[in-house]
Amino acid sequence: MVLIETKRLKKYFPVPSGHLHAVDDINLQINKGETLGIVGESGCGKSTLGRVILRLHEATSGEVLYDGMDINTFNASEMRHMRQIMQIIFQDPYASLNPRMTIGQSISEPLRLHKIYNKKNEIRERVEELMELVGLPKRSYNQYPHEFDGGRRQRVVIARALTINPKFIVCDEPVSALDVSIQAQILNLLMDLQKNMGLTYMFISHDLSVVKHISTNIGVMYLGQMIEKAPKKDIFRNPLHPYTIALLSAIPSINIKEKSKKIILKGEITSPINPKPGCRFAARCPFSIDICRAQIPKLIEVEKDHSVACYRYKEIQNKTLHYNII
C-alpha cells in the first residue's frame, strides 16, 4: 500500500540571480512499512525534498499525497493533525534539543502541545515508556542535553519524534554526526522500531553504505532531480545511470582483498541556479551526446521497479558503453 506519494513536486528558491532549483519535478512513492533511501551529494536537494514532503517548506508546485490526500491543500488545523502523523529527525542532535529543557521536558513537549494527556503522571509514564524503548535509563529524566553525548542525544530526539505515534518519519542524516560504533547502535534502533511499530521512513544520507543497510528502495538524486530509483539490490548490482556507477565506485572500501578500481569524475557539481537545459549530469558525464545537453531525460521504468533517467542506459545495460578505468 502506498503511504506517501509525490507528483511532479517542485521547490524553487528565489535568489538574486534567478531561481535555485532545489527540488525539480520529483515523482516518488513510499509503501507502508518500507524505507526509501535518498542519496546524493551536498546541495542535491535531498533535505529540501524531505522538508517539502512534510510541508516544512511550501512546494512551488506539485502534489504530496499522504494516503491519497494532497496535504498541500490542507488548512492550518488539518495540518496540525498531520504533524502528529509525520515527524522528522534532524542530522545534528546538538542543535535539535533545547539546552534549557530537561530530557523529560523535551520528550514530553509534543504530548503537551497536542494535548494528548492531561494528567502529569500520565505524561511521565508515557515519557518513561519511550525512554525505555530507545534505550535511555529512566534516571536521565531530569538531566540536561549537555550531560549527554551525540549518540544518546540522538536517542532523545528519536524518542521525541515517537511520542505521538507517528506513521511516517523523515530521517535527515540521523547518523552522520556520530562515530561508527555509535552509528551502528542508532541504525539498529531505527530498524527495530520500524519492525515493531510498522513505521515508514524516508532516510536521507550521503553515505551509501548506511542507506543500503536500512533501505528497501533507493533513489539517487543529482541537482534536484531523481536520476535513478530501484530496490536496493538492483542499485548496487546493476546501476544504470553513469552518475550512480561513478558514485558507487568512489566509496572507499574496507575490503582489501579485492581492490576495486575507482572512477574519478572530472569537475564538480554544477550550479542549481537557473540550470542549463538538458541532463543535469551532462557536463561531467563522459558519455554525453547532443541530446543530453538539449533535453532533460525522463525517469522511465526500464526493468521491474528499476527506473533511470538517461538517454544511453541501454548501451550501459548491454555493456557496450562503459567507463575506461585505468
Binding site: S181, N188, K212, S249, S253, N255, I256, L265, I269
Partner: protein, 321 residues
Amino acid sequence: MLEIKNLSVHYVTDAITAKAVNDISFSVNKGESMGLVGETGAGKTTTALSIMQLVPDPPGIIVDGEIWFEGKNIIYNTDKENQAMRGNGISMIFQDPMTALNPIMTIGDQLNEILTTHQKISKKQAKKQVIELLEIVGIKEDRYNDFPHQFSGGQKQRVVIAMSLLCKPRLLIADEPTTALDVTIQAQVLEIINSLKAKFNMAIILITHDLGVVAETCNKIAIMYAGQIVEMGTVEDVYLSPKHPYTKGLFDSIPKLDDDTTQLIPIEGQVSNASDLPTGCYFHPRCRFCKDICKTQQPLIKGDAHKFMCHFDVFTKGAIK
C-alpha cells in the same frame, strides 16, 4: 624518519586533567604512509599537533616522551627551530578547508606567503612555483587572484593541499583531509594525495575515522582508543586478522556494501571520558570479552610487526568465547 617514544599529552585545567594521549610509540619511515584511526576524542589530532609542536599551551602539556624527527628530539626545539622545521620538514593539512584559508587574502597571496616565509626565494619565483603546484592539484592559473569564497569545498581542500606541499615537506600530516567532502570529490583528492606521495617520496600520516580511506591510501595503520594505540600493523595484517576487540568492533559496526547482513554489531556503551578514564584496560567497560584482570591491570603491548594491547588473544586462539 619520525619516531615517537612513550608520548603522553594531557590538557590540564584547574578542575580537570584530560589525558588525551597516553604513552604511545610508533615510527614512520620515508615513503611510508600510516593511517591513524579512531573515534572522536581518541587523541588523533593531539598526536598530530604534538608532532607539529602546536599543542595549545596552556592547557596542553607534553608530560612525557620523545619525538624524534630526522635524528633530533624536537620536543626541546626552540621556536626558531620549530619555524624552520614546519613547512620544509613537516607540514599539515587541516580538517576543515573552510577555516584553514584566510577569507580576505587571494589564494595566490596566501600560497606565496608560505614560500617567502619558509624559503629564501624571490616573489617572482615563488609565484611560478605556486602556479605549478596549483596546476598539479587541478586548479587553473586564472584562479590565482581569486578569494577562498569563490571556490567550492573540494577546490578549497585542493588549495590547502597545494599549500601544505609548497615547501616539499618530507613528512605530511593530513588531518581528516576528505571528511568535509562528497565521495566523488573525496576520490579526486585521495587520488591527488596518492600521486603526489609517489612524486615527492613523502612520508604521510593520514588521520581519519574512515577505515575505507585508510585501505585505499595507506600501508600501515594504528588504531587509537582513549589516547592509546591499541593495535598497529600493516593494513593487510590489521584488516584481515584484527587482534584487539575494539578493532574487531569497529569493523563489525560498519555497514558493508558487498554483504547483505541485516543486523550490525555495535560496540555497546560510550567512549570513555579522557578526564575520567577507567582503571585497567581503558576499553574494558565496552569489551565483550572483559575478564577480572582487565578491570585492574593495564595490558602490555604484544607482538612485533603486528602489535596489539590486550591481555588475551581472543580472535586467533579461540581461548575465550
